[in-house]
Symmetry: C3
Subunit: 169 residues, 3 copies
């Protein structure tokens, strides 16, 4: 977890690199404009060339089930983008179903899974029902997820603060 | 303290439950629209039925003085909503007076008092004098309050980080 | 580091006061309106009268080089304002050059240097390319700076949480 430009993606990538295992990178971002495209490409350039990248904006639980293995590391970047993609479908049943699927799949996964997600609730919230819903769904997901995983870190200025468990280095 | 949907209310309720004492819940929220109403009702449903709920949007210090007792737990949810209600009165003298009353009452209170409040200053601040005033007043209150209480926790993804004192569990 | 009205300036001033050395205060704020003027004056009134104040909205690296000395404390308040001033010049080459200059100067400085900066990425980001650029540049600067300094603290409600190194008191 961390703010925008807190270095959370880079920190997660460093953890993944240190695992000395095959890394599968699940990118949830949907490229919608030129600025975004540049941002995504910069991210790709930052990652080791031998990592396998999968783009999965919606069916994250399924993708995790298909790729998780005891000798692999999966890095999901990022959950808030995934929640955003789900909200853009304007289908509350799908939204709830996908989030529930993720929460049910997680305890069954073997191997290391690293989730990157944005802390989005510590500022003044702009008006708008969709924004509020985004903060609600993201926050609820973070709370539920934090219960079922071993480590939660808050990234500030590229450095990790321990929220749950120990930081790896 | 925590962001929107960080699980801070739930965490505070868990602390209150663990105290094994009568719990008085002071709700500062003013119900202004349907969405808010649903939100408040969801919160009420989450709380144990034997808790006593008091709605007090403005005269918080007075309410605390009237209800605090050495064998009771008071949970105030939340301070930022209270600051917001005060600002909505558009009466700076009232605002200052109520905040000062709260700060003076706190050291005299017996029993356990738990305050829930939002961290609102860690994002880009939208334009507008009222927003800035809200952030200023909330922030100042947090700083002053933190001096006179024993424990300050920052809630992230439903988990507590210690800012002052130890977390209860 | 800290949110708006988190007490980060005051905390930094307390650290500086405890050093028992001459303090040079570098203010990066450009006074643009009456509200800002009042805010800056309130800040000045809060500081000890014998501190030397330098106003430097742009050439921060140069100012640090000129004033740093092994028997002095320099307090820079704040970096996010400085990044904002640079962005307002609408000159990307200047922006990059000044940030690089700062990063190169820091390891060479003798004496104590304290930077105050805003965490701005933990809320919903308002639309707009300039806002995004501001968050990007601030965040990148925080990450790079955090690598080359000894202590990073996150200020919440006027209290310090350790991100890197130990808090001074």
């Amino acid at each position: 977890m961390g703010g925008a430009r807190s270095g959370k993606s880079r920190y997660a990538e460093t953890i993944a690199s240190h695992c000395d295992q095959e890394v599968i990178y699940i990118a949830t971002a949907k490229v919608l404009d030129k600025e975004m495209e540049a941002r995504v490409e910069r991210h790709i350039d930052d990652r080791p060339a031998h990592w396998k990248t999968i783009e999965e904006p919606i069916a994250l639980a399924e993708s995790l089930e298909n790729h998780a293995a005891s000798n692999k590391v999966i890095l999901v970047d990022c959950l808030t983008m995934w929640v955003n993609n789900l909200l853009m479908q304007e289908d509350d049943i799908l939204l709830t179903a996908e989030i529930n699927k993720l929460l049910q799949v997680i305890p069954k996964l073997t191997g290391t899974v690293i989730f990157v997600s944005n802390e989005v609730g510590m500022g003044i919230m702009p008006l708008g029902e969709l924004t509020r819903k985004f903060v609600d769904e993201s926050g609820r997901l973070h709370q539920q997820l934090a219960q079922s995983i071993d480590n939660v870190l808050l990234i500030v200025a590229g450095l990790a603060m321990e929220v749950k468990g120990k930081k790896p280095f």
